[in-house]
């Protein structure tokens, strides 16, 4: 029973992801946003600052959904603001996926 449930869940997750992929131009904007604007607290190399590091290594044990929620709704009581007026939920999911895989560099 456990197996099919997990399988189902991963299908659902996988199903949700590709449909929501931002287009190439928006992806470029999001990469710049994360590097430059998230970077003002988390560092341009995402190695941390006032905010925690956002490198793949730092995030590897964090739950995906929790990280998405943090981007969208912020973390009350900390300096992390809600970004929902700037990025949509699918865009936040895309950003978190990239962060967990090692965030792309900005094209020069």
């Amino acid at each position: 029973m456990k197996r099919p449930l997990v399988f189902l869940a991963s299908l659902l997750l996988a199903g949700a992801a590709p449909a929501a992929e931002p287009d190439a131009a928006r992806q470029r904007e999001l990469v710049r946003l994360v590097r430059q604007d998230c970077g003002s607290c988390h560092g341009m190399q995402l190695t941390g600052g006032l905010g925690m590091p956002l490198t793949a290594a730092a995030l590897k044990d964090r739950p995906f959904e929790g990280l998405v929620a943090t981007v969208v709704y912020g973390r009350p009581g900390t300096a992390m603001p809600p970004w929902r007026s700037i990025v949509s939920e699918p865009e936040a999911e895309w950003i978190v996926r990239q962060l967990m895989n090692g965030f792309p560099e900005e094209p020069r």
Partner: protein, 385 residues
Amino acid sequence: MKRTLAVLSLLLAAGCAQTSLREEPRGTGDLGIVIERADGRVAVVDTTARAVLGRIDGLGDLSHASAVFSRDGRYAYVFGRDGGLTKVDILLRRIDRRVMQAGNSIGGSISQDGRIVVAQNYEPGGIKVFDAATLELLSEVPTQSKVVGLADLSGNRFAYALFDKGEIWVTDLSDPRRPRTQKFPAGRQPYDGLVTPDGRHYMAGLFGEDGIALLDTWKPEQGARKILENYGKGQEKLPVFKMPHLRGWAVAGNQAYLPAIGRHEVLVVDKASWKESGRIKVKGQPVFVMARPDGRQIWVNFAFPDNGWVQVIDTLKGEVVQTLQPGKAILHMEFTPRGEHVWLSARDDHTVSIYDTRSFERVATLPAQSPSGIFFTSRAARMGF
């Protein structure tokens, strides 16, 4: 024969001219640096010629870099995010010395006598003390907290705030190998600090609560007290997409001008009573609120997504008198020593714009790659810079 002589003398003259150009002594009072944050590079700039004189590479991760100057105005000490501290010779336009002093750093300060440079670090949290000539490590003060708002005080003392501990610490480095530290409770999550131009009052802005912690460093035994408490009482805060900076103090006449947190306002504080004397509505979350050196104008830039705007407050009228759009992502502003011009960095336009502060006309635009901080050598002579 005549012709040959003429050519020869021309050649000689050209040769001499080149030599004398290279060896012509010059001052640094009208020089400065611009951080090119994405490339680990600084541009050396001349505010008289309004030009980039040259560039210096190899300074590491300069996201959120800041700089202070030696008192002779020749060297810039640049503090990088990656913990690099680089002493840059702006006359010879080369790196004089460089040390990796921490894992994650945010800025630094130079002592009243110019002999020691202090770095403030996030990771590991604390301050480190260096010989300004050699960058030899002299001592350190661990804090078990991220350090923000480091500022120099008289007597080779330094004030700073601890983000995670909610305290202001004052460290006396009159003997730089034997730091002596006093600690004061301040409030929740201080995010930056500033010292008034006379070096007397240290203020730490609080992120975790409304208000500002104020320490009279001439009477430290009184401890820190809170001012501007509840300035936003009962109102929901707007999201803060970038922490304001207090470093460029804005004290003009009897008033101090400070960014509100989570509101699109500049707070005005009476310096005699330390009570709120007004609020000025502005276009976004203020980041830098900086006084022109004569105190007549306050220039304000904003956090994302309003970071394409700059507004100017007239301190006599107490209102915004000018709204400018100097470029995309205005990260920093720096006044020329007497304030006739202001230089503005537009990160996403890759330009530095120079504005006349009387006419608000743009007088020049210089190319710079992802420019952030602009620092002029006039900071060398100012307390808290």
